[in-house]
């Protein structure tokens, strides 16, 4: 009897050990991806420190900036998630039809804060808006959780869903944006930026005024060079190592996993597809081969096609690259339940409001949403609240 009991206990312990190692709990929001190597996990931890580091003028902040740390904006409910800050972007749609992001006069991101030294030198408390701007845009802080997986999606996967001339006559066109050197874009609300590395490096400079080896020049003040003495820190203000660590923190962050669906949620998922939401909010994308095993050949339930879609004239703000003022990249819905505001400009405070703000190519889906009965509507919202 005793031997049998011992064997049973030993088996239970073994089962617990094997079970724990073979089936770890799913990542919580803010956790690293499962399956990272020890060195990658170490870089995630060290990168987290850079991501939440508060910069000062002495360590490179400004002279123009929107925030003094990545984590000042990407913070709610965990580091790397969304935030309540809304910033200002500008562009000019010129008479010759060219979309000018006003890079030589301070655009496209207009910084809302300045260091005391710059305020004293120029008597300004924010960057002036260029007089030539024809459009202004509000941009909320996106969650960057899971962006490493989006970065690992091959171009061909994105381009395979493009239908710029709507050849299948479903009313959904979807077209790619391209960076100024011709590469396919995917990051940013207008899908301008091709890679996560560039998205992150550029953000240090435009959001915090921190120069990096990839972005060694400071922002100008509406196109004018900085006055002497206001930026004493030598460039680059962030080392290659720290830039790489911050990049790896974002790259190795796990996307918030959807909550398990009950019967109503499953029904809502079907409604999501049947009324046409999934035509743009593609439920899942696949990554390609990647040197990071945790990013290689993975499915990411991002609910985006990373393409531009016309959202209608009511939402139109600025052009950027090939994107027209009314065109926006399909917003990823992963982690939707963690957000407090919705849409690229934080114009909605509930998911229902956000759906109501869809126009253009999404008009048919929005109208079908309006016609849903109470049970279908409730099921759809139940599904969305689990993302």
């Amino acid at each position: 009897m005793k031997a049998a009991a011992r064997a049973l206990i030993a088996l239970s312990v073994l089962n617990a050990i094997v079970g724990a190692s073979s089936c770890p709990p799913p990542p919580k929001p803010g956790d690293p991806l499962r399956g990272l190597a020890a060195g990658e996990l170490d870089r995630f931890r060290k990168g987290q420190e850079v991501f939440e580091r508060t910069f000062t003028a002495e360590t490179g902040l400004g002279p123009l900036f929107n925030a003094d740390a990545c984590g000042e904006c990407h913070e709610d409910p965990v580091l790397g998630a969304a935030g309540d800050e809304v910033e200002l972007h500008v562009a000019a749609l010129r008479p010759d039809g060219f979309c000018d992001p006003l890079a030589d006069s301070g655009g496209p991101v207009i910084q809302q804060k300045v260091t005391p030294a710059l305020e004293q030198a120029l008597g300004i408390d924010r960057e002036p808006v260029p007089a030539t701007a024809t459009g202004r845009a509000s941009r909320s802080t996106p969650s960057v959780l899971g962006f490493g997986l989006l970065d690992a999606v091959p171009d061909r996967e994105i381009l395979s869903r493009a239908d710029p001339r709507d050849r299948d006559h479903d009313g959904i066109s979807g077209r790619p944006n391209r960076f100024f050197d011709g590469r396919l874009g995917r990051f940013g609300r207008k899908a301008l930026v091709p890679t996560l590395r560039e998205f992150n490096a550029g953000a240090f400079t435009i959001e915090m005024g921190i120069t990096t080896p990839a972005t060694p020049a400071e922002e100008t003040v509406a196109g004018r060079p900085l006055p002497a003495g206001v930026d004493p820190t030598p460039e680059p203000e962030l080392s290659e190592e720290d830039l790489g660590l911050a990049d790896d923190f974002v790259r190795f962050s796990a996307p918030p996993l959807p909550l398990p669906l009950d019967h109503e949620g499953e029904r809502g998922k079907l409604v999501f597809g049947s009324i046409g939401c999934a035509s743009c909010h593609t439920p899942s994308l696949s990554t390609g081969q990647n040197k990071v095993r945790a990013l290689s050949y993975k499915r990411v339930d991002a609910y985006t096609d990373l393409l531009l879609h016309d959202m209608g004239p009511e939402r139109a703000d600025i052009c950027l690259g090939l994107a027209q003022p009314s065109e926006f990249r399909t917003e990823p819905l992963m982690g939707l339940r963690l957000k407090k505001t919705f849409m690229h400009d934080a114009a909605a405070t509930t998911v229902e409001e956000a759906i109501e703000l869809h126009g253009g190519e999404a008009t048919a889906a929005r109208n079908k949403f309006r016609r849903l009965g109470p049970r279908e509507r409730s099921a759809l919202l139940e599904f969305l609240s689990a993302l």
Partner: protein
């Protein structure tokens, strides 16, 4: 991952500057540097002035966008997408520009049009 285009460019520019210094050092008579592939920049034409022989090229990293002011060499070659002349360098065209640096001045001696400017007919 696509590496940032700037780092190799800076290395090339530094190498070019060093080569230039070496060539002009030691009391050698100064002569204009022979145009070589000192730097390659790919960007979108933001403004062009065929008469003045200048080009503003839009490039950058992420949303940190920058304009590179390029002077076109008198004998600049223009090719690609049917383009043969500077007049083809319309705003919106994506171009690969081979240029040389002298201080802040950037002089292009070859411009390859990779994508023609989008049609503005609509």
């Amino acid at each position: 991952m696509n590496p940032s285009p700037r780092t190799p460019f800076r290395a090339l520019a530094t190498a070019f500057a060093c080569a230039l210094c070496a060539a002009t050092a030691g009391g050698q008579p100064a002569s204009p540097p022979a145009p070589g592939p000192s730097q390659v920049v790919t960007g979108t034409v933001c403004r062009s002035d065929a008469e003045a022989g200048t080009l503003d090229l839009l490039t950058g990293t992420g949303h940190a966008l920058r304009i590179i002011h390029v002077r076109l060499a008198a004998d600049v070659k223009v090719k690609g997408r049917g383009a043969t002349a500077v007049t083809a360098l319309a705003p919106g065209a994506v171009c690969r520009v081979e240029c040389s640096h002298a201080g802040a001045a950037v002089t292009a001696y070859l411009v390859e049009v990779l994508e023609a400017a989008p049609s503005r007919s609509q």
